[in-house]
Subunit: 211 residues, 2 copies
Amino acid sequence: MKNFFNIEDFANNLINYCDKVQIKEFEKNEIITTYIVNRNMLFIVLEGSSDLIRYDFNGNQMVVERFNKFDVFGEIFYRININNELFVKAREKSKILMFNYDIFEKRCKKNCNFHEQLLVGLPNLVLTKVSDLNIRIELLSKKTIRDKILSYFKILSENNFSKTFTLPFSLTDLADYLSIDRSAMMREIKILKEDGFIKKLDKNRFTLLSQ
Amino acid sequence: MKNFFNIEDFANNLINYCDKVQIKEFEKNEIITTYIVNRNMLFIVLEGSSDLIRYDFNGNQMVVERFNKFDVFGEIFYRININNELFVKAREKSKILMFNYDIFEKRCKKNCNFHEQLLVGLPNLVLTKVSDLNIRIELLSKKTIRDKILSYFKILSENNFSKTFTLPFSLTDLADYLSIDRSAMMREIKILKEDGFIKKLDKNRFTLLSQ
DNA sequence: ACATTCTTGTTGCATTTGCAACAAGAATAC
DNA sequence: GTATTCTTGTTGCAAATGCAACAAGAATGT
Protein backbone atom coordinates (compact mmCIF):
# COMPACT_ATOMS: atom_id res chain seq x y z
CA MET A 1 0.00 0.00 0.00
CA LYS A 2 2.66 2.46 -1.03
CA ASN A 3 1.94 6.14 -1.48
CA PHE A 4 2.55 7.66 -4.86
CA PHE A 5 2.96 11.07 -3.34
CA ASN A 6 3.10 12.37 0.18
CA ILE A 7 -0.14 14.22 0.76
CA GLU A 8 1.04 15.41 4.17
CA ASP A 9 3.84 17.42 2.60
CA PHE A 10 1.49 18.45 -0.12
CA ALA A 11 -1.04 19.92 2.30
CA ASN A 12 1.69 21.71 4.21
CA ASN A 13 2.87 23.50 1.07
CA LEU A 14 -0.43 25.03 0.16
CA ILE A 15 0.66 28.57 0.73
CA ASN A 16 0.61 29.76 -2.86
CA TYR A 17 -2.01 27.41 -4.22
CA CYS A 18 -3.35 27.88 -7.70
CA ASP A 19 -6.42 29.75 -8.90
CA LYS A 20 -8.26 26.54 -9.79
CA VAL A 21 -8.36 25.35 -6.21
CA GLN A 22 -9.63 26.71 -2.92
CA ILE A 23 -9.40 25.73 0.71
CA LYS A 24 -12.30 26.45 3.02
CA GLU A 25 -12.90 25.96 6.71
CA PHE A 26 -16.21 24.68 8.05
CA GLU A 27 -17.58 24.75 11.57
CA LYS A 28 -19.21 21.72 13.16
CA ASN A 29 -22.58 20.87 11.54
CA GLU A 30 -22.03 23.24 8.61
CA ILE A 31 -23.09 21.91 5.20
CA ILE A 32 -20.02 21.47 3.02
CA THR A 33 -21.84 20.59 -0.19
CA THR A 34 -25.08 19.24 -1.60
CA TYR A 35 -24.73 16.52 -4.22
CA ILE A 36 -26.04 17.66 -7.58
CA VAL A 37 -25.45 15.38 -10.55
CA ASN A 38 -23.06 16.76 -13.17
CA ARG A 39 -21.68 19.41 -10.86
CA ASN A 40 -18.28 17.69 -11.07
CA MET A 41 -16.82 19.09 -7.85
CA LEU A 42 -14.17 17.22 -5.94
CA PHE A 43 -13.29 17.67 -2.26
CA ILE A 44 -10.41 16.44 -0.13
CA VAL A 45 -10.55 16.46 3.66
CA LEU A 46 -7.38 18.16 4.94
CA GLU A 47 -8.47 18.40 8.57
CA GLY A 48 -11.47 17.14 10.51
CA SER A 49 -14.16 14.75 9.30
CA SER A 50 -17.58 14.85 7.69
CA ASP A 51 -20.58 12.67 6.93
CA LEU A 52 -22.40 12.06 3.66
CA ILE A 53 -26.04 12.12 4.69
CA ARG A 54 -29.17 10.99 2.87
CA TYR A 55 -32.64 12.28 3.63
CA ASP A 56 -35.09 9.50 2.91
CA PHE A 57 -38.81 9.85 2.12
CA ASN A 58 -39.78 9.70 5.78
CA GLY A 59 -37.56 12.68 6.53
CA ASN A 60 -35.13 10.85 8.78
CA GLN A 61 -31.48 11.20 7.92
CA MET A 62 -28.97 8.43 7.58
CA VAL A 63 -25.18 8.47 7.34
CA VAL A 64 -24.21 6.91 4.01
CA GLU A 65 -20.47 7.38 4.27
CA ARG A 66 -17.94 9.03 6.54
CA PHE A 67 -14.97 11.03 5.27
CA ASN A 68 -11.82 11.36 7.32
CA LYS A 69 -8.46 13.02 6.75
CA PHE A 70 -7.41 12.82 3.08
CA ASP A 71 -10.57 11.11 1.92
CA VAL A 72 -11.84 12.29 -1.46
CA PHE A 73 -15.52 12.93 -2.03
CA GLY A 74 -17.88 14.73 -4.37
CA GLU A 75 -20.91 14.50 -6.61
CA ILE A 76 -18.70 13.06 -9.30
CA PHE A 77 -18.57 9.77 -7.36
CA TYR A 78 -22.37 9.59 -7.18
CA ARG A 79 -23.64 9.87 -10.71
CA ILE A 80 -27.07 8.56 -9.87
CA ASN A 81 -28.73 10.75 -7.30
CA ILE A 82 -31.98 11.77 -8.81
CA ASN A 83 -33.62 13.56 -5.94
CA ASN A 84 -30.55 15.53 -4.84
CA GLU A 85 -31.16 14.37 -1.32
CA LEU A 86 -27.48 13.83 -0.50
CA PHE A 87 -25.38 16.35 1.35
CA VAL A 88 -22.12 16.46 3.29
CA LYS A 89 -22.04 17.89 6.80
CA ALA A 90 -18.97 18.64 8.91
CA ARG A 91 -18.79 16.49 12.05
CA GLU A 92 -16.31 18.89 13.59
CA LYS A 93 -14.33 21.96 12.59
CA SER A 94 -12.85 20.92 9.24
CA LYS A 95 -10.57 22.17 6.49
CA ILE A 96 -11.56 21.14 2.98
CA LEU A 97 -9.73 21.38 -0.34
CA MET A 98 -12.19 22.06 -3.19
CA PHE A 99 -11.81 22.08 -6.95
CA ASN A 100 -13.61 21.26 -10.16
CA TYR A 101 -12.88 18.09 -12.07
CA ASP A 102 -11.99 20.18 -15.13
CA ILE A 103 -8.66 20.81 -13.41
CA PHE A 104 -7.52 17.85 -15.48
CA GLU A 105 -8.23 19.64 -18.72
CA LYS A 106 -7.48 23.26 -17.94
CA ARG A 107 -4.15 24.23 -16.45
CA CYS A 108 -4.17 27.20 -14.15
CA LYS A 109 -2.73 30.50 -15.30
CA LYS A 110 0.42 30.25 -13.26
CA ASN A 111 0.94 26.64 -14.38
CA CYS A 112 1.82 26.13 -10.72
CA ASN A 113 3.54 23.31 -8.99
CA PHE A 114 0.54 22.78 -6.76
CA HIS A 115 -1.73 22.09 -9.70
CA GLU A 116 0.81 19.62 -11.03
CA GLN A 117 1.14 17.81 -7.72
CA LEU A 118 -2.62 17.50 -7.41
CA LEU A 119 -2.87 15.89 -10.83
CA VAL A 120 -0.14 13.44 -9.93
CA GLY A 121 -1.44 12.65 -6.45
CA LEU A 122 -5.16 12.47 -6.97
CA PRO A 123 -5.26 9.11 -8.79
CA ASN A 124 -3.70 7.46 -5.77
CA LEU A 125 -6.32 8.91 -3.45
CA VAL A 126 -9.05 7.68 -5.76
CA LEU A 127 -7.56 4.19 -5.91
CA THR A 128 -7.47 4.09 -2.13
CA LYS A 129 -11.11 5.09 -2.14
CA VAL A 130 -12.03 2.32 -4.58
CA SER A 131 -10.17 -0.17 -2.44
CA ASP A 132 -12.05 0.99 0.67
CA LEU A 133 -15.38 0.72 -1.14
CA ASN A 134 -14.55 -2.79 -2.31
CA ILE A 135 -13.71 -3.82 1.23
CA ARG A 136 -16.99 -2.45 2.54
CA ILE A 137 -18.92 -4.27 -0.19
CA GLU A 138 -17.31 -7.53 0.80
CA LEU A 139 -18.25 -6.96 4.44
CA LEU A 140 -21.82 -5.93 3.62
CA SER A 141 -22.12 -9.04 1.44
CA LYS A 142 -21.58 -11.38 4.39
CA LYS A 143 -24.86 -12.99 5.31
CA THR A 144 -24.57 -13.07 9.10
CA ILE A 145 -23.63 -10.50 11.72
CA ARG A 146 -21.02 -12.90 13.01
CA ASP A 147 -19.30 -13.08 9.61
CA LYS A 148 -19.39 -9.32 9.23
CA ILE A 149 -17.77 -8.71 12.59
CA LEU A 150 -15.14 -11.43 12.26
CA SER A 151 -14.23 -10.41 8.70
CA TYR A 152 -13.84 -6.79 9.70
CA PHE A 153 -11.82 -7.65 12.80
CA LYS A 154 -9.57 -9.81 10.63
CA ILE A 155 -8.88 -6.85 8.32
CA LEU A 156 -8.14 -4.55 11.26
CA SER A 157 -5.87 -7.17 12.73
CA GLU A 158 -3.97 -7.61 9.46
CA ASN A 159 -3.64 -3.87 8.98
CA ASN A 160 -2.19 -3.59 12.46
CA PHE A 161 0.17 -6.59 12.03
CA SER A 162 -1.19 -7.87 15.33
CA LYS A 163 -4.02 -9.95 16.75
CA THR A 164 -4.87 -6.92 18.90
CA PHE A 165 -6.25 -3.74 17.40
CA THR A 166 -8.28 -0.63 18.14
CA LEU A 167 -11.50 0.18 16.33
CA PRO A 168 -11.22 3.37 14.28
CA PHE A 169 -14.61 4.48 15.63
CA SER A 170 -17.26 3.78 18.25
CA LEU A 171 -19.28 0.57 18.42
CA THR A 172 -22.35 2.56 17.41
CA ASP A 173 -20.56 3.69 14.26
CA LEU A 174 -19.35 0.15 13.62
CA ALA A 175 -22.96 -1.03 13.48
CA ASP A 176 -23.70 1.70 10.94
CA TYR A 177 -20.63 0.83 8.88
CA LEU A 178 -21.68 -2.82 8.71
CA SER A 179 -25.34 -1.83 8.33
CA ILE A 180 -26.60 -3.95 11.20
CA ASP A 181 -28.72 -3.21 14.24
CA ARG A 182 -26.56 -2.05 17.10
CA SER A 183 -28.26 -4.14 19.77
CA ALA A 184 -28.06 -7.25 17.59
CA MET A 185 -24.36 -6.52 17.08
CA MET A 186 -23.75 -6.17 20.82
CA ARG A 187 -25.52 -9.49 21.36
CA GLU A 188 -23.30 -11.17 18.76
CA ILE A 189 -20.12 -9.66 20.21
CA LYS A 190 -21.14 -11.10 23.57
CA ILE A 191 -21.62 -14.55 22.04
CA LEU A 192 -18.27 -14.28 20.19
CA LYS A 193 -16.61 -13.55 23.54
CA GLU A 194 -18.34 -16.50 25.18
CA ASP A 195 -17.40 -18.80 22.30
CA GLY A 196 -13.75 -17.75 22.58
CA PHE A 197 -13.40 -16.06 19.20
CA ILE A 198 -12.54 -12.61 20.51
CA LYS A 199 -11.45 -10.88 23.69
CA LYS A 200 -12.47 -7.37 24.60
CA LEU A 201 -9.60 -5.53 26.24
CA ASP A 202 -10.92 -2.03 26.48
CA LYS A 203 -13.77 0.09 25.19
CA ASN A 204 -12.70 -0.09 21.56
CA ARG A 205 -9.85 -2.56 21.78
CA PHE A 206 -10.16 -6.21 20.85
CA THR A 207 -8.01 -9.29 20.34
CA LEU A 208 -8.77 -11.98 17.78
CA LEU A 209 -8.19 -15.40 19.32
CA SER A 210 -6.88 -18.10 16.98
CA GLN A 211 -9.77 -20.35 17.94
CA MET B 1 -23.33 11.24 -17.25
CA LYS B 2 -21.33 12.54 -20.19
CA ASN B 3 -18.47 10.59 -21.67
CA PHE B 4 -15.07 12.18 -21.65
CA PHE B 5 -13.99 10.04 -24.54
CA ASN B 6 -15.70 7.52 -26.74
CA ILE B 7 -14.33 4.15 -25.73
CA GLU B 8 -16.13 2.44 -28.58
CA ASP B 9 -14.11 4.37 -31.15
CA PHE B 10 -11.09 3.90 -29.00
CA ALA B 11 -11.40 0.12 -28.98
CA ASN B 12 -11.96 0.06 -32.72
CA ASN B 13 -8.70 1.91 -33.39
CA LEU B 14 -6.45 -0.47 -31.55
CA ILE B 15 -4.54 -1.59 -34.61
CA ASN B 16 -1.21 0.00 -33.84
CA TYR B 17 -1.45 0.09 -30.09
CA CYS B 18 1.53 1.05 -28.02
CA ASP B 19 4.20 -1.15 -26.45
CA LYS B 20 2.94 -0.48 -22.92
CA VAL B 21 -0.40 -2.13 -23.57
CA GLN B 22 -1.54 -5.52 -24.77
CA ILE B 23 -4.81 -7.09 -25.79
CA LYS B 24 -5.44 -10.75 -25.06
CA GLU B 25 -8.28 -13.12 -25.81
CA PHE B 26 -9.52 -15.62 -23.26
CA GLU B 27 -11.72 -18.66 -23.71
CA LYS B 28 -14.64 -19.39 -21.41
CA ASN B 29 -13.51 -20.38 -17.89
CA GLU B 30 -9.91 -19.30 -18.52
CA ILE B 31 -8.23 -17.46 -15.65
CA ILE B 32 -7.52 -13.88 -16.71
CA THR B 33 -5.55 -12.86 -13.63
CA THR B 34 -4.92 -13.68 -9.99
CA TYR B 35 -5.00 -10.72 -7.62
CA ILE B 36 -1.62 -10.12 -6.04
CA VAL B 37 -1.20 -7.01 -3.92
CA ASN B 38 1.20 -4.42 -5.39
CA ARG B 39 1.16 -5.97 -8.82
CA ASN B 40 -0.49 -2.78 -10.16
CA MET B 41 -2.05 -4.28 -13.26
CA LEU B 42 -5.14 -2.78 -14.81
CA PHE B 43 -7.58 -4.53 -17.14
CA ILE B 44 -10.43 -3.28 -19.30
CA VAL B 45 -13.06 -5.62 -20.72
CA LEU B 46 -13.35 -4.94 -24.45
CA GLU B 47 -15.56 -7.91 -25.25
CA GLY B 48 -17.27 -10.56 -23.15
CA SER B 49 -17.59 -10.66 -19.39
CA SER B 50 -15.80 -12.11 -16.39
CA ASP B 51 -16.23 -12.77 -12.67
CA LEU B 52 -14.03 -11.82 -9.74
CA ILE B 53 -14.08 -14.95 -7.61
CA ARG B 54 -13.03 -15.54 -4.03
CA TYR B 55 -12.08 -18.92 -2.63
CA ASP B 56 -13.05 -18.98 1.03
CA PHE B 57 -11.61 -21.21 3.74
CA ASN B 58 -14.13 -23.97 3.07
CA GLY B 59 -13.00 -24.18 -0.54
CA ASN B 60 -16.26 -23.04 -2.07
CA GLN B 61 -16.06 -20.16 -4.52
CA MET B 62 -18.17 -17.06 -4.52
CA VAL B 63 -18.61 -14.34 -7.13
CA VAL B 64 -17.50 -11.05 -5.59
CA GLU B 65 -18.02 -8.85 -8.63
CA ARG B 66 -18.93 -9.16 -12.28
CA PHE B 67 -17.14 -7.26 -15.04
CA ASN B 68 -18.93 -6.44 -18.28
CA LYS B 69 -17.97 -4.52 -21.40
CA PHE B 70 -15.70 -1.54 -20.58
CA ASP B 71 -15.50 -2.29 -16.88
CA VAL B 72 -12.08 -1.70 -15.34
CA PHE B 73 -10.60 -4.16 -12.89
CA GLY B 74 -7.31 -5.16 -11.35
CA GLU B 75 -5.36 -5.83 -8.17
CA ILE B 76 -4.84 -2.11 -7.82
CA PHE B 77 -8.48 -1.76 -6.76
CA TYR B 78 -8.08 -4.38 -4.05
CA ARG B 79 -5.17 -3.31 -1.93
CA ILE B 80 -6.08 -5.57 0.94
CA ASN B 81 -6.10 -9.16 -0.18
CA ILE B 82 -3.78 -10.95 2.13
CA ASN B 83 -4.28 -14.53 1.12
CA ASN B 84 -4.25 -13.92 -2.64
CA GLU B 85 -7.43 -15.91 -2.95
CA LEU B 86 -8.99 -13.62 -5.55
CA PHE B 87 -8.93 -14.34 -9.26
CA VAL B 88 -10.79 -13.31 -12.37
CA LYS B 89 -12.29 -15.94 -14.66
CA ALA B 90 -13.80 -15.42 -18.11
CA ARG B 91 -17.53 -16.20 -18.21
CA GLU B 92 -17.39 -16.44 -21.99
CA LYS B 93 -14.92 -15.83 -24.81
CA SER B 94 -13.52 -12.39 -23.91
CA LYS B 95 -11.12 -9.77 -25.18
CA ILE B 96 -9.18 -7.92 -22.48
CA LEU B 97 -6.99 -4.83 -22.59
CA MET B 98 -4.10 -5.12 -20.12
CA PHE B 99 -1.50 -2.64 -18.94
CA ASN B 100 0.50 -1.63 -15.91
CA TYR B 101 -0.44 1.34 -13.81
CA ASP B 102 3.01 2.86 -14.48
CA ILE B 103 1.62 3.83 -17.87
CA PHE B 104 0.86 7.12 -16.14
CA GLU B 105 4.49 7.75 -15.41
CA LYS B 106 6.29 6.25 -18.38
CA ARG B 107 5.29 7.23 -21.89
CA CYS B 108 5.73 4.56 -24.51
CA LYS B 109 8.57 4.79 -27.01
CA LYS B 110 6.40 5.85 -29.90
CA ASN B 111 4.63 8.42 -27.73
CA CYS B 112 1.53 7.12 -29.48
CA ASN B 113 -1.93 8.52 -29.73
CA PHE B 114 -3.34 5.37 -28.18
CA HIS B 115 -1.34 5.84 -25.01
CA GLU B 116 -2.54 9.43 -24.83
CA GLN B 117 -6.18 8.48 -25.30
CA LEU B 118 -5.95 5.87 -22.58
CA LEU B 119 -4.58 8.41 -20.11
CA VAL B 120 -7.38 10.80 -20.95
CA GLY B 121 -10.17 8.22 -20.94
CA LEU B 122 -9.25 6.04 -17.98
CA PRO B 123 -10.25 8.49 -15.23
CA ASN B 124 -13.79 8.50 -16.54
CA LEU B 125 -13.98 4.73 -16.49
CA VAL B 126 -12.72 4.72 -12.91
CA LEU B 127 -15.26 7.35 -11.85
CA THR B 128 -18.03 5.23 -13.35
CA LYS B 129 -16.68 2.31 -11.36
CA VAL B 130 -16.70 4.30 -8.12
CA SER B 131 -20.25 5.39 -8.82
CA ASP B 132 -21.32 1.78 -9.39
CA LEU B 133 -19.65 0.69 -6.18
CA ASN B 134 -21.39 3.45 -4.24
CA ILE B 135 -24.74 2.41 -5.63
CA ARG B 136 -24.14 -1.19 -4.64
CA ILE B 137 -23.13 -0.13 -1.12
CA GLU B 138 -26.36 1.81 -0.73
CA LEU B 139 -28.37 -1.21 -1.85
CA LEU B 140 -26.48 -3.61 0.39
CA SER B 141 -27.02 -1.20 3.29
CA LYS B 142 -30.80 -1.54 3.10
CA LYS B 143 -32.00 -3.63 6.01
CA THR B 144 -34.79 -5.59 4.34
CA ILE B 145 -35.04 -7.60 1.14
CA ARG B 146 -38.05 -5.52 0.18
CA ASP B 147 -36.04 -2.30 0.42
CA LYS B 148 -33.18 -3.77 -1.56
CA ILE B 149 -35.42 -4.90 -4.40
CA LEU B 150 -37.50 -1.72 -4.55
CA SER B 151 -34.44 0.55 -4.39
CA TYR B 152 -32.73 -1.35 -7.16
CA PHE B 153 -35.85 -1.40 -9.31
CA LYS B 154 -36.19 2.35 -8.80
CA ILE B 155 -32.66 2.88 -10.10
CA LEU B 156 -33.27 0.67 -13.13
CA SER B 157 -36.50 2.51 -13.79
CA GLU B 158 -34.83 5.91 -13.59
CA ASN B 159 -31.96 4.79 -15.82
CA ASN B 160 -34.48 3.64 -18.38
CA PHE B 161 -36.64 6.79 -18.12
CA SER B 162 -39.63 4.48 -17.71
CA LYS B 163 -41.55 2.60 -15.06
CA THR B 164 -40.86 -0.53 -17.10
CA PHE B 165 -37.37 -1.98 -17.37
CA THR B 166 -35.42 -5.15 -18.04
CA LEU B 167 -33.03 -6.64 -15.50
CA PRO B 168 -29.44 -6.63 -16.77
CA PHE B 169 -29.05 -10.21 -15.56
CA SER B 170 -30.92 -13.27 -14.30
CA LEU B 171 -32.91 -13.37 -11.06
CA THR B 172 -30.31 -15.74 -9.65
CA ASP B 173 -27.61 -13.16 -10.33
CA LEU B 174 -29.79 -10.43 -8.86
CA ALA B 175 -29.90 -12.29 -5.56
CA ASP B 176 -26.10 -12.50 -5.62
CA TYR B 177 -25.76 -8.82 -6.46
CA LEU B 178 -27.97 -7.85 -3.52
CA SER B 179 -26.39 -10.56 -1.37
CA ILE B 180 -29.66 -12.19 -0.37
CA ASP B 181 -30.94 -15.74 -0.49
CA ARG B 182 -32.55 -16.43 -3.83
CA SER B 183 -35.59 -18.25 -2.49
CA ALA B 184 -36.21 -15.49 0.05
CA MET B 185 -35.98 -12.99 -2.78
CA MET B 186 -38.48 -14.91 -4.92
CA ARG B 187 -40.85 -14.98 -1.95
CA GLU B 188 -40.54 -11.22 -1.50
CA ILE B 189 -41.06 -10.55 -5.21
CA LYS B 190 -44.24 -12.59 -4.98
CA ILE B 191 -45.46 -10.50 -2.02
CA LEU B 192 -44.53 -7.28 -3.82
CA LYS B 193 -46.66 -8.42 -6.75
CA GLU B 194 -49.57 -9.29 -4.44
CA ASP B 195 -49.27 -5.95 -2.64
CA GLY B 196 -49.38 -4.09 -5.96
CA PHE B 197 -45.88 -2.59 -5.85
CA ILE B 198 -44.59 -4.27 -8.99
CA LYS B 199 -45.84 -6.16 -11.99
CA LYS B 200 -43.91 -8.91 -13.69
CA LEU B 201 -44.29 -8.69 -17.45
CA ASP B 202 -41.83 -11.25 -18.63
CA LYS B 203 -38.99 -13.36 -17.34
CA ASN B 204 -36.70 -10.41 -16.57
CA ARG B 205 -39.03 -7.52 -17.24
CA PHE B 206 -40.85 -5.60 -14.53
CA THR B 207 -42.98 -2.50 -14.06
CA LEU B 208 -42.88 -0.35 -10.94
CA LEU B 209 -46.41 0.63 -9.96
CA SER B 210 -46.86 4.08 -8.45
CA GLN B 211 -48.47 2.51 -5.40
C1' DA C 1 -32.50 -35.01 -30.93
C1' DC C 2 -31.14 -35.84 -26.59
C1' DA C 3 -28.76 -35.03 -22.50
C1' DT C 4 -27.18 -31.79 -19.45
C1' DT C 5 -27.00 -27.68 -17.14
C1' DC C 6 -29.11 -23.37 -15.69
C1' DT C 7 -33.01 -20.72 -14.12
C1' DT C 8 -37.35 -19.97 -12.04
C1' DG C 9 -40.72 -21.06 -8.68
C1' DT C 10 -42.39 -22.88 -4.22
C1' DT C 11 -42.70 -24.38 0.77
C1' DG C 12 -41.73 -25.66 5.84
C1' DC C 13 -38.96 -24.75 9.46
C1' DA C 14 -35.31 -23.22 12.51
C1' DT C 15 -32.49 -19.42 13.20
C1' DT C 16 -31.17 -14.79 12.94
C1' DT C 17 -32.24 -10.24 13.11
C1' DG C 18 -34.46 -5.77 13.89
C1' DC C 19 -37.08 -3.12 16.93
C1' DA C 20 -38.51 -1.04 21.23
C1' DA C 21 -37.40 0.08 25.54
C1' DC C 22 -34.68 0.90 29.34
C1' DA C 23 -30.48 1.83 32.45
C1' DA C 24 -25.91 3.13 33.65
C1' DG C 25 -21.55 5.06 32.58
C1' DA C 26 -18.61 8.38 29.72
C1' DA C 27 -17.86 12.38 27.39
C1' DT C 28 -18.99 16.98 26.30
C1' DA C 29 -21.11 21.54 26.70
C1' DC C 30 -22.04 25.64 29.25
C1' DG D 1 -19.80 21.62 38.64
C1' DT D 2 -23.91 20.42 36.69
C1' DA D 3 -26.75 19.38 32.90
C1' DT D 4 -27.03 17.34 28.64
C1' DT D 5 -25.87 14.36 25.11
C1' DC D 6 -23.55 10.19 23.46
C1' DT D 7 -22.17 5.45 24.00
C1' DT D 8 -22.39 0.94 25.82
C1' DG D 9 -24.94 -2.83 27.48
C1' DT D 10 -29.08 -5.80 27.99
C1' DT D 11 -33.60 -8.25 27.11
C1' DG D 12 -38.20 -9.99 25.14
C1' DC D 13 -40.62 -10.59 21.22
C1' DA D 14 -42.30 -10.48 16.56
C1' DA D 15 -40.85 -10.50 12.00
C1' DA D 16 -37.60 -11.43 8.39
C1' DT D 17 -34.39 -14.41 6.50
C1' DG D 18 -31.49 -18.37 5.22
C1' DC D 19 -31.41 -23.09 4.32
C1' DA D 20 -32.76 -27.44 2.37
C1' DA D 21 -35.20 -29.72 -0.80
C1' DC D 22 -37.76 -30.44 -4.73
C1' DA D 23 -40.00 -29.78 -9.48
C1' DA D 24 -40.71 -27.96 -13.95
C1' DG D 25 -39.40 -25.18 -17.74
C1' DA D 26 -35.63 -22.89 -20.62
C1' DA D 27 -31.38 -22.74 -22.58
C1' DT D 28 -27.25 -24.82 -24.09
C1' DG D 29 -23.93 -28.32 -25.68
C1' DT D 30 -22.77 -32.18 -28.62
